[in-house]
Structure formats: structure tokens, C-alpha cells
């Protein structure tokens, strides 16, 4: 490995630009003569729209147009579909509603778009939106998935007759039941996996501009790769050729899985821009971001696991409810079944597995992909079960895991996915050693002598990386000035592609990272088969695409070099940026420059070193790891402080350890956020009551523990770079490691589980027992200063 190549901790090339405020975000874009859009949103969780009066809004200063569903319907703009297909065991397909772009006759959650105002300024658009008069007739609402199942619960879709659109099961439970009956030990775990807000720092924003002369619409918007949104908007909603739609994503302030979707706001805005024949800009405010960006998690899991007398799992049954929200987002019901299903039952061999999932409609914003997308939920459930198994069998927590780890690879999971590689026991051993697990009891005793309760938790987890789409399109071009340009289908919105992809080019072509330029996020320029970045896929998909493209460049370069050095191609070698033939040599740059000159290349050859590769993956990869968390509880307040955190990850070959560490820190922060302070909360009336950073507990840097990171590298066998994704692992490991530690600290108080977020009040009540009449609130963590 060279100075800048694979495995080097190259510092992020993009940081000076971003940290000095020279990033370019959607809101930085403006078009001459643009209008501004503002959405009127539903203040009700559930209500009929009896009448709409737009007169005052249309007459307000600066207003160009006011649109409702009637306008979209008149132009034949279709509603939004969910892309997931599911069926029950009898083969009956899942019932799917469509979501109107702007609410038609009824609203089903607080924040649903009802009307779009287009005006000369943002202030005018917002003022006018408030002048729209709507005669509402509120309906009863339900926000909680378990409540929505009860008889008499308000129905989101009366035509369905219930709030459950399908009861999906992997198979009948017969075999699992039989195995469970014969189990020596049975453990039960019931979990509410709390709803989270993705909360990117950059709100949704858009600038939609219609060019009448070209008949072309350009949308600037923060996405995770705009190709799919381009296709959706062009073909489904605007009914124009895909190439007449251009989506540009400049810098993006956080993706987390919530940027890939074609949000209704974008549909309304591009349609409005085409209607008025001009440009419409929009930027969500923070409140809109909180209640209209798709949320994450929100599952209820009930599970039973049976073990034999040796502590080996014989059967596992899981019943999951997933709160879909009012509509089905693009990926909504996919979260537990395919998102989590790709790995469930996680690191363990389970001979008989029964899995039942009921998606549930409620009067809330839709849930969809959010960092981990079903895998954090699955891992959390499995790790709570393993801790319960340790408690029941009397085995230590590491021993019960060790006895059940998958050890033979490739391993086909009960859901049919094939895990290529891993060494789970070694990862756990490393993590426990780094965390000084063996001497923990001394630290517990020392803390106790000071009046504090200490606990330690271990969580093994597995991830599935690569995303659903099996291809990615990358192109690498050697320029005349010796630089190299990557035209990337992968899309960086914080991941550091500029850095890592430059390292790959350095590795394969010998060009210095400073001379590599990354072009991304523009559907007019990026490769036609570009997909984007989600599901921790870019190291494998984009990385392999670059490797293959570079190999093609070198293969062609060899021919050019042979021609110039008057040698046979077979006699030319290439290594570390130099072509050699006998005593002659030419640098990659020299050959690349010559290659553009038609007079210096072999006859019939197309000039230039410019090669693309549409990489088709063989399989997803399976990052995994083990985290150990140690907490200390102040029993008087219930405040838990993380005193030690160790993360050992197997993310395959490490392309840049600095970048991977960053991914681990970020993922752990989001995982600890979920475990300790984050809670997206709807009240009994369906109002979203945690819609500001004053109420929603975002994890902050100064509250994060120091995270010790280790690598347990087992190269992936199914992709050319041997990489496994790194983006979502932290969010999988942190919640069970923290809750496991907390439960361990509270073991003398009979605590076996605590739902997230584990607030000080919950912890305090666990210590002080059931001496109170009321339940704890859904509260938020606090700290003493």
C-alpha cells in the first residue's frame, strides 16, 4: 500500500471546503426571476376537508398561484405509490393505499401537505398560505400501533376495514412451535422500539426550474443520488422524457436514508414550476422537517426463544408490529421484513424460525429507511433475547452467545440470505478484552463504594450492506492535464467519497489524490446507470466500479504505451503509475495525455482513457461487530453515564481507517441517541409534540463518550475489494450494548429489560420500585450540571 492508497488514513479532502463554509447546498442556488413556494399543512391528525376557500390567498400580495389536489387532479397527476409487494401465506397481496401529493378531501396526519402557494417571496408565500380557509371536520385519530389494533380504533382506510394491510409470515409456525415445546429453556422479550426523527442538519429544500425553450425541468434538491427521483418525476408525474428532467444534488447536509425518496413536496414543486413556466424555490423550516420527513424505527416486537439444555437455540418466534404511518412510504413495510429480514436472526444459528409481521396504519407521518433500516431493530431484539437466555440458563452473556454464533461460512439464513464470512467469536473476544471485561466486577464494587451502580453490556450484531439495487455505474477519465475525473453513480452526502475514491484511483493508477476530482449528483453528467448511496453500499458498489474502470484504463493504456514505446502490449507492465517495456518507461500521465492524441495511438483506437463500468454485485456483504458499553448510574437521579465504550467492527478490508472510525462514531452516536434521549412523540390527539430541538433530544458531541475502535477484519469473499459496509454498524451495536449495561447495573432491582429511550426517570423508577400511582412520562433524558 502506497502513501495515499488503500488502507491509509488519508484526511478528508472535502473538509477544508465544508468547514470553511464553502459548501454549496440547494438553498445556495437561485435562478433569476424565481418564485417561492410554501405549503399549507394539516394541523389535524385526522380530519375531513369540507371546503376550501382560496380567494384571499390568491388575492394576497405577490401571489402567482395557489394549488390544491383539484389542480393536480385536473392535470392528471397521479398519487404516490408504495413500491413494496408483500403477500400473506395464502398468497393474498398486501392492500396498498395511494398518497395524494396534496391531500384530497381528508388529511391523515399532522403536517400533511394540503395546498401549495407560489409567490414572489418566501414571506409572501407563507403569509398567503395562512389566508387559505379550510372548513375542517376532525375525526378520531390513533398514533400508536398497538392502539390501532384494538377493536373500535379509528380506521385510517375504512375501505380496508382494519388498520393492518397484510399479515406477513415467513412460514406457518408449526415447526417452531414443536421445537419450542421441546425446549429446555424458554425466554420471552417484549420491546417497543422507539420512533426516531432523522433530523438532518439541512432541511428538505428544492429549486425547480422549467426551461420552456428546451422543454426541460431542472430540480436542485438534496438527495442520495438523483437518478431514481429523476425517473419518477419525469415519467410518472410530469410525463416527459427522462432526459428532459435533470436532478442536481449539490452538497447534502445529511442523508441517513431519508433522502432517497420522491417526497410529495418535490412532485408538487416540479409540477408547479412547469405550470407557471418558471422557477419555484422552497425550503422547509425546522418544524416541517420534523413532522414531514419520513421517520424511522417505531416497531413493537414480541419474541420467544427456546434453548436446549446446553444453551443452544432450538427455536425462535417473533411477532412484529411496524407503524407505517398514515400512508405507505416507498419502502415502509419493507423495514422489518427485508430491511431487518436480511440478517435476522442475526449472528446466531436458529434451526426453527418463525417470523410474523403486521404493518399498521396510524395517524402519523410515514416511516421509512433510517440508518440501519430494520437491522438495528432486529439486532436489538436478538441481543435482548441473548441476555435473557444468559439469565435463564445461568450461562455468562458471552458464553451463551459463543454457543450460538454462526461459525461456518457461507451460511444461509432462515430468510434465504447468504452470509459469506465473519468471525463473530473473535470480534467478541477482542471487544471484551479491550473493555477489560474480566476485571469489571472490581470496578462495579469500587463504584458501589461511592454510591453508584455500574453495569456492563455486550452486543454482537450483524448488518447487511449493499442496498437493494444490485448495480452501480462509475466512470473514470484521465484528463489532458494529468488529473483524473471520477463520474460517480455513488453519491456522497457526508461519507467522504472524495477522499476514499481518490485513494482507490491512487491505488490503481498511481495518480495523487489531490489530482483526482469527483463529479457526482447531476443526472445530466453522472453515468446513466447511476443508482446512489444508501445501505452502506458505496465502498462495495462505487469502489468496485472504480476498480474495474481503472483496470480498463490500464488495459487500454498498455496498448497505447506499447505503441509509443514500440513494444508489444504483452511486454508492457504497469505498476505504481508507471508503464514499463524493457528499459523504457512512461508515466500514467504521459500515456494518458498521448492517448487523447489520435496521431499517437494505434490505428483504429478511439482516443482517450475514459472508461466506465457498471458493476453488478454478486451478493450483499455482511458487516458485523461487537460493542461493549460500561455505564455508571447515579441512583439518586437515575442518570446513567457511559464510562467506557468499545466498538470492534468487521467491515472487511478497510479502505481508510479514519473514515471508518468516523462512520463508527456517527453510528454509535445515533444508536446512543435512540437508546438514551431520542423519542418522536405524538400525543393522544395525534399532535406531534417533539417537533423542535428544544424537545427532541438530539445527541450532541460533548455528551458522547470516548469510543475505542478496533477492527476484526475478515475480507468479504464476494466483491473485488473485499469490503463490507461501515455506515450503519454503529447504530446496530449501540442500543443493545447500552441497554444491556443498564440492565446489568440494575440487576439487583429485578430489572430484566428497559425500553428506549432509557431516561433517568425510568431508571430512577426501576430503582425505587412501584411506589407510585402514575406511569413515567415518555420523557427525555436530562443531565446535571
Amino acid at each position: 500500500m502506497g502513501q495515499f492508497g488503500i488502507g491509509q488514513p488519508l484526511r478528508r479532502k472535502e473538509d477544508p471546503r465544508l468547514l470553511q463554509g464553502r459548501g454549496q447546498y440547494t438553498d445556495d442556488m437561485n435562478v433569476e426571476g424565481q418564485f417561492w413556494g410554501a405549503f399549507l399543512r394539516s394541523p389535524h391528525a385526522h380530519a375531513d376537508i369540507l371546503s376550501v376557500d382560496l380567494e384571499a390567498a390568491r388575492a394576497a400580495p405577490g401571489v402567482k398561484a395557489v394549488y390544491t389536489s383539484a389542480d393536480l387532479d385536473a392535470d392528471g397527476v397521479p398519487d404516490m405509490p408504495c413500491e413494496v409487494e408483500l403477500a400473506d401465506l395464502a398468497g393474498a397481496p398486501m392492500w396498498k393505499p395511494m398518497r395524494p401529493i396534496l391531500a384530497r378531501n381528508r388529511v391523515r396526519f399532522v403536517g400533511e401537505c394540503v395546498a401549495l402557494v407560489v409567490a414572489q417571496t418566501q414571506a409572501q408565500a407563507r403569509e398567503a398560505a395562512e389566508l387559505i380557509e379550510i372548513n375542517w371536520s376532525p375525526r378520531p385519530s390513533v398514533a400508536d400501533a398497538q392502539e390501532a389494533l384494538k377493536p373500535g380504533a379509528p380506521l385510517l382506510w375504512p375501505e380496508l376495514g382494519q388498520n393492518v394491510p397484510v399479515h406477513w409470515q415467513n412460514k406457518p409456525s408449526t415447526e417452531a412451535d414443536a421445537a419450542m415445546a421441546g425446549a429446555a429453556w424458554r425466554v420471552d422479550v417484549n420491546i417497543v422500539n422507539n420512533r426516531l426523527v432523522p433530523a438532518p442538519m439541512e432541511p428538505k429544500a428544492a429549486l425547480a426550474s422549467w426551461d420552456e425553450q428546451e422543454g426541460k425541468l431542472t430540480l436542485w434538491a438534496p438527495t442520495q443520488g438523483g437518478r431514481k427521483i429523476q425517473a419518477n418525476l419525469a415519467k410518472r408525474y410530469l410525463r416527459i422524457a427522462q432526459d428532459k428532467m435533470r436532478v442536481i444534488s449539490l452538497d447534502v447536509g445529511g442523508g441517513f436514508g431519508m433522502r432517497g425518496q420522491t417526497y410529495p413536496e418535490y412532485v408538487a414543486l416540479v409540477w408547479a414550476a412547469k405550470q407557471i413556466g418558471g422557477a419555484v424555490k422552497w425550503r422547509a423550516d425546522r418544524t416541517e422537517t420534523f413532522f414531514s420527513d419520513y421517520h424511522g424505527r417505531d416497531q413493537v416486537n414480541e419474541a420467544q426463544m427456546g434453548l436446549d439444555e446446553y444453551g443452544r437455540i432450538v427455536a425462535l418466534k417473533i411477532h412484529t408490529l411496524v407503524n407505517l404511518g398514515a400512508y405507505m412510504a416507498e419502502n415502509g413495510p419493507r423495514m422489518p421484513i427485508e430491511g431487518g429480514g436480511r440478517i435476522i436472526p442475526c449472528c446466531y444459528h436458529v434451526p426453527h424460525f418463525y417470523f410474523s409481521v403486521k404493518p399498521v396504519f396510524t395517524n402519523t407521518v410515514s416511516t421509512d429507511t433510517y440508518r440501519g433500516a430494520g437491522r438495528p431493530e432486529a439486532n436489538f431484539l436478538m441481543e435482548r433475547l441473548m441476555d435473557a437466555a444468559a439469565e435463564a440458563t445461568g450461562l455468562t452473556r458471552d458464553e451463551v452467545r459463543r454457543r450460538n454464533f454462526i461459525t461456518e461460512f457461507p451460511y444461509k439464513t432462515p430468510m434465504g440470505y447468504v452470509i459469506d464470512s465473519g468471525d463473530f467469536a473473535r470480534g467478541m473476544d477482542d471487544a471484551m478484552r479491550m473493555a477489560e471485561w474480566d476485571t469489571f466486577e472490581e470496578r462495579r464494587a469500587e463504584a458501589y463504594s461511592r454510591g453508584y451502580l455500574r453495569g456492563i453490556g455486550v452486543a454482537a450484531f450483524i448488518e447487511a450492506a449493499g442496498g437493494r439495487a444490485p448495480t452501480e455505474d462509475m466512470r473514470v477519465r484521465a484528463e489532458l492535464d494529468g488529473s483524473v475525473t471520477i463520474f460517480s453513480g455513488s453519491h456522497s452526502h457526508g461519507q467522504g467519497h472524495d477522499t476514499v475514491f481518490s485513494q482507490l484511483v491512487n491505488e490503481f493508477l498511481g495518480v495523487e489524490p489531490a489530482s483526482v476530482r469527483l463529479v457526482q449528483g447531476d443526472t445530466d453528467v453522472t453515468p446513466r446507470g447511476s443508482i446512489g448511496t444508501f445501505g452502506s453500499r458505496s465502498s462495495m458498489m462505487g469502489g468496485a466500479g472504480i476498480k474495474m474502470s481503472c483496470e480498463k484504463l490500464v488495459a487500454k493504456g498498455v496498448k497505447v504505451a506499447a505503441h509509443l514505446m514500440q513494444s508489444e502490449p504483452d511486454a508492457v507492465t504497469f505498476s505504481q503509475g508507471v508503464f514499463r517495456a524493457g528499459a523504457s518507461e512512461m508515466s500514467f500521465t504521459q500515456v494518458a495525455q498521448a492517448a487523447w492524441d489520435a496521431t499517437r495511438i494505434p490505428e483504429g483506437m478511439t482516443p482517450g482513457l475514459d472508461e466506465g463500468h457498471n458493476f453488478q454485485r454478486e451478493a450483499e456483504n455482511f458487516p458485523n461487530g461487537c460493542h461493549v458499553c460500561e455505564v455508571e448510574i447515579d441512583p439518586e437521579t437515575g442518570i446513567a453515564e457511559i464510562v467506557r465504550y468499545v466498538a470492534v467492527d468487521d467491515c472487511g478490508a478497510v479502505l481508510n481507517p479514519l473514515i471508518v472510525h468516523g462512520q463508527v462514531y456517527g453510528g454509535v452516536a445515533q444508536g446512543l441517541g435512540q437508546a438514551m434521549i431520542e423519542n418522536a412523540l405524538y400525543d393522544a390527539e395525534g399532535q406531534f409534540v417533539s417537533a423542535t430541538y428544544m424537545d427532541y433530544g438530539m445527541p450532541r458531541a460533548h455528551r458522547m463518550p470516548f469510543i475505542e475502535v478496533g477492527f476484526n477484519t475478515v475480507a468479504c469473499r464476494t466483491n473485488p475489494l473485499g469490503v463490507k459496509g461501515a455506515g450503519e454498524a454503529g447504530a446496530c451495536g449501540a442500543p443493545p450494548a447500552f441497554i444491556g449495561a443498564l440492565v446489568d447495573a440494575l440487576r439487583d432491582y429485578g430489572v430484566t429489560h428497559m425500553d428506549m429511550p432509557a431516561t433517568p426517570e425510568k431508571i430512577w423508577r426501576a430503582i425505587y420500585g412501584a411506589q407510585f400511582d402514575t406511569q413515567e412520562s415518555d420523557g427525555i433524558y436530562a443531565e446535571v450540571t
Binding site: 412520562s777 427525555i780 436530562a782
Partner: protein
Amino acid sequence: MHNFDYHAPKTLDSALALLRDKEDGKIIAGGMTLLPTLKQRLAAPSDLIDLAALSEMKGVRRDGNGIVIGAMTTHAEVAANGDVQSLIPALSHLAGVIGDPAVRHRGTIGGSVANADPAADYPAAVVGLNATIVTNKRKIAADDFFVSLFETALERDEIITSVRFPIPERAGYEKFRHPASGYAVVGVMVAKFGDKVRVGVTGAAGSAFRASDFEAALEKNFSSEVLLGIAVSPDDLLSDIHCTNEYRAHLVNVMARRAIAAA
């Protein structure tokens, strides 16, 4: 934000004149609560009267056995002031744990006290340290100032010009901090003036209050142990999405004991 007219008067008199003249005028004294409210379009005052230019209302000075803090003095200035640090370190500590650095450099003591947010820190200091609220019209005793949620004894055309804190023998402030907002879920200021003790509690109820049971016990014996047996009734305390009144009642006792330890 709705439209409003902005005024930055140079003198207190012109600020008062504007306040009397404008139909729906609103004073801004830092704006740490008002600005977010405006941005969320939850308030629509006709006029904003900004006190930022009133230099006479800024700064900290000694005044006999007290410290007088101008109403437009920022939290950061109070926290960093040498006199406050040496004479009432608990007050300096309190000002230094309000919100976050941005809030501490914009928010002012007058703005915070006049706003009377039930979870703000300063009300605990006003009540616990027996401060006097000085306005353009009169002096208001701490015990008479906070009326209820966001409501004070201030009249419509009354502006706080300064807050006077007597110097205690000992004082301590301890706060259970909300991680999102930085507000006090419960904050307790305990202060000893000779044989008198005052305990000011913020965050727990609709407005700051004195824990008189604690005061009586501490006047006999100023030590945290005496509070161990004194339960706080949750009856009039707040329950909300952040925590219940029972937990708040418990925290009042814990924070009071820790404030004594810090005093």
C-alpha cells in the same frame, strides 16, 4: 415570521414612549424566547422595541451589600464578571449553565426574568437570593414578582432596568438540565443570609417558588442531611412530556441537597 416594525430606542424614555404608543408592541431584550416564537409564526406583534441600545441598562456594579446587574447584561457577562464570581459564585455558576454559548451571549437577565419561563434558571436566583426587581416605576420584591406561568407583576408599560442581588453568606445552585433545550427540569438555589435561609426552585412548577419546609429545617441546621426526611409534595408540580411531577418532586430534594453541598 410575520411583518413588524423594528425600533431600537437610545433611551429608556423613548422605549417607554414606544411601548405606550404601539398597539401591540413587544419588547425584545435578547430575544432567546421571542425570536423562535416569531420564526414559528406563533406571535405577531405589530412592533418590536429592542432594548439592545440602552447602554445604561448594561453591566454589573457593587452596591453596598449587594450586586446590581443591569437588565440588558448577558448571561455570559454575568458568568464572567469578577464581582459576581467572588461575591455570589452561585449566581455566576447559574448564569454559566443557562442554555448554550449562543444563548448565553444573546440572552439577558432582564429578558429572562420578565419572560418568566417556568424552566428558566434566573427565577431560582431571584427567589432564592431574595433579589429586588428594579423597574422604571418601582422596586418589586422577589416574593411578589413571579405570578404564574409566563406571568409576572410587571405592568404593561413597565420595563425592568436592573436586578439587585443581596450578597449571601453562602449559596449554591444545582440544576437537572434538559439535554435538548438546556432548560432546568428542576433547578434549586439555596442561600444562607445569617440565620435566614432561602430556597428558590425553578423548573418544577408553573413559576419559581420557595421551598419553605426546606428553609425552616435549614435555618435550624444548614446541612444537606436535614432535607433527607422532607418529602416534596408533587401535587402542584408539572407533569409533561419530559417527566412527571413525582420525579420532579424527588429532584427538588436531590438538587437542594446538592446545592447545599456546593454552597
